[in-house]
């Protein structure tokens, strides 16, 4: 019980949110913002694994997001609703309640496989050239989707609303909010465990000195595979959730611009700091919303703010430290494997 304090805290927080949403004490808009915060947390912390911890420069995260979004959406629409291309529902619509997380994970798996498109070249390529490969993968995914007419091509794909409605017909709970809370927590938890284990720190060794890592016994290829697949799989998860919030997706959502947004969150939070990524995702989403009334000016103000931030604090909010390093008392709440050296019996 004591060891999982952070977990319990998060569970309580999630239940509170769900309760509040269930009783319609939050406006739809506020709920939407909360959900986007969750998704942005998944996106930024998963990209941090590559750009921060492994020190590669991936700028195609939105591509993997797209894969997850499309695969899970198509699966759900095909399985649980009647659609003009996919025909009548394959399974009983109410089973969506149980199978929804599985289709999300299927989308994540597809995205993880797409991650191989970057992982394999990364064996031989590093740095800027790998960055370009990620960029190319982003474009390839986007224009592939644009060219598949069965799923709407450039016009986009919809019908996910109905899936959610089917789920709500069984139990009236804010389903999407529920799954976003679950998967956001899960992502951060998995990533935290990964980067604080000796296994996961292998990717930090790759960042610091890849040659030394390989020679001193780190199977760098396997670690790169693991990191890229984990990261892109999580992006796929975020994509799937994202698609079901809006009920509609189109390839234009998953452009380099989206990838840039995620990158900005990673750098804003600090490369190699998980809590930094979480913080910056919250902050960034809120800033985007606060500045929304500015319309066109918004995208003038944000880059300007970021440029100023870079000049003033180039390492981001947290640098590569964690919240528990800054406020050691937090360790009581969140298991602190990091730096907990002599504590082991």
């Amino acid at each position: 019980m004591r060891r999982h304090r952070g977990l319990w805290l998060y569970a309580a927080f999630s239940l509170a949110i769900l309760w509040v949403c269930g009783h319609e004490m939050l406006t739809a808009y506020a709920q939407l913002v909360l959900m986007f915060i969750g998704i942005n947390i998944i996106l930024s912390s998963s990209l941090n694994l590559i750009n921060g911890y492994m020190g590669e420069f991936s700028c195609g995260h939105a591509g993997f997001m797209a894969v997850g979004a499309y695969v899970s959406s198509i699966l759900n629409v095909w399985l649980f609703t009647s659609h003009k291309v996919f025909g009548p529902p394959v399974l009983s619509p109410s089973s969506a309640v149980y199978l929804f997380p599985l289709t999300l994970l299927a989308g994540a798996c597809a995205a993880a496989l797409a991650g191989l498109l970057v992982a394999f070249p990364s064996f031989r390529t590093r740095g800027d050239y790998l960055a370009i490969i990620t960029l190319a993968v982003n474009y390839i995914v986007k224009s592939s989707v644009e060219n598949i007419q069965a799923i709407g091509g450039a016009r986009g794909f919809m019908g996910m609303r109905k899936v959610i409605e089917e789920m709500e017909a069984v139990w009236r709970i804010p389903w999407i909010m529920l799954w976003i809370l679950v998967f956001t927590g899960l992502t951060v938890w998995v990533l935290h465990r990964f980067v604080s284990s000796s296994y996961g720190k292998g990717i930090v060794a790759i960042r610091d000195d890849e040659i030394a890592a390989e020679i001193m016994g780190v199977d760098t290829r396997r670690m790169k595979l693991a990191a890229f697949m984990l990261s892109s799989g999580m992006a796929g998860l975020a994509g799937g959730l994202f698609a079901h919030i809006l009920g509609y997706i189109n390839p234009g959502t998953f452009t380099i611009m989206k990838s840039t947004e995620v990158m900005v969150m990673v750098y804003l939070g600090g490369m190699g700091s998980l809590s930094g990524s979480v913080l910056s995702a919250v902050l960034f989403t809120l800033i985007l919303e606060v500045l929304r009334p500015l319309q066109v000016i918004k995208w003038v103000v944000i880059p300007l703010l970021l440029i100023l931030l870079m000049l003033w604090r180039p390492e981001g909010i947290m640098g590569d430290r964690e919240l528990t390093d800054v406020f050691p008392r937090l360790r009581r709440w969140f298991s602190a494997d990091k730096g907990d050296v002599h504590g082991a019996p």
Binding site: F194, Y199, K201, A205, M216
Partner: protein, 258 residues
């Protein structure tokens, strides 16, 4: 059975023949030196043995298994570890983590265990940490456990490199100029350490060194390379007198360090 056997090892960089027809039979427990003027090909021999380059020609047998062409981490897993001529530590990780990650290939658990924190993960991770702590202790680095390697004094960084190599639990330890850049006091300490490691870890050590004092005082046998070719092989005293060795070093000041 020889620990390491190298036959007719040759390596080219483009047109440059860095190592030519190199032969070696290393028995367990030996302490062998490899010397030669700058650019003779010493580091290249190490790189070939540890799998960083694939030899143009020749065989490398470690415990009767052909290891030429294996990837470096696999060679390390078989029991060959090394240090680097220019220190290559992982500088954003703590000293302690440096020692943990060197055990990466024998962690014995995978991604699933990490996420679910299985029993295997917990026991293995504890074992890894204990090994790292022991090494900190015996190498006199305990004080620096949470420091970043870059903040350590130079001599300590060299020690850490040796400690990291030992963390892989090697049978053969390759040291590439461990005394480079050290002051005389640090060198004395290093000689002690090398002797001590060899005894307490029952290791075979193969050492590249320019400082003759180190070579003469720890090595039992010395090989001399020049332009990739082996020009002498024998006990240190004999090597020192060998006219071909003196010829090779002529003009370079290195022998006079002795």
């Amino acid at each position: 059975m020889a620990l390491l056997e190298i036959r007719r090892l040759t390596h080219f960089f483009g047109g440059l023949r860095a190592v030519a027809d190199f032969n070696l039979r290393l028995e367990g427990g030996e302490l062998l030196g490899l010397i030669g003027p700058n650019g003779a090909g010493k580091t290249t021999v190490f790189n070939l043995v540890c799998g960083f380059y694939k030899p143009t020609e020749g065989d490398i047998f470690f415990l009767d298994k052909d290891i030429a062409g294996l990837r470096p981490h696999a060679v390390t897993a078989m029991g060959i570890a090394r240090t680097f001529q220019n220190i290559r530590l992982w500088n954003t990780l703590s000293v302690f983590d440096n020692l943990c990650i060197a055990q990466h290939f024998r962690l014995g658990y995978g991604l699933g265990d990490v996420v679910l924190r299985t029993g295997r993960f917990v026991t293995r991770e504890r074992h890894v940490r204990r090994t790292a702590e022991e090494l900190l202790e015996i190498m006199g680095l305990r004080h620096y456990a949470q420091e970043r390697p870059g903040n350590l004094p130079y001599g300590m960084q060299r020690r850490l490199e040796i400690a990291r190599a030992l963390a892989t639990q090697p049978k053969l330890l390759l040291l590439d100029e461990p005394a480079a850049g050290m002051n005389p006091g640090e060198i004395d300490q290093l000689v002690e350490t090398i002797r001590w490691i060899r005894e307490s870890f029952t290791l075979t050590i193969w050492l590249i060194e320019h400082h003759m004092r180190v070579v003469m005082s720890v090595c039992e046998r010395v090989q001399v390379l020049d332009f990739g070719q082996t020009i002498a092989d024998g006990p240190p005293e004999a090597i020192k007198q060998d006219p071909r060795v003196i010829q090779a070093y002529l003009g370079s000041e290195e022998l006079s360090h002795a």
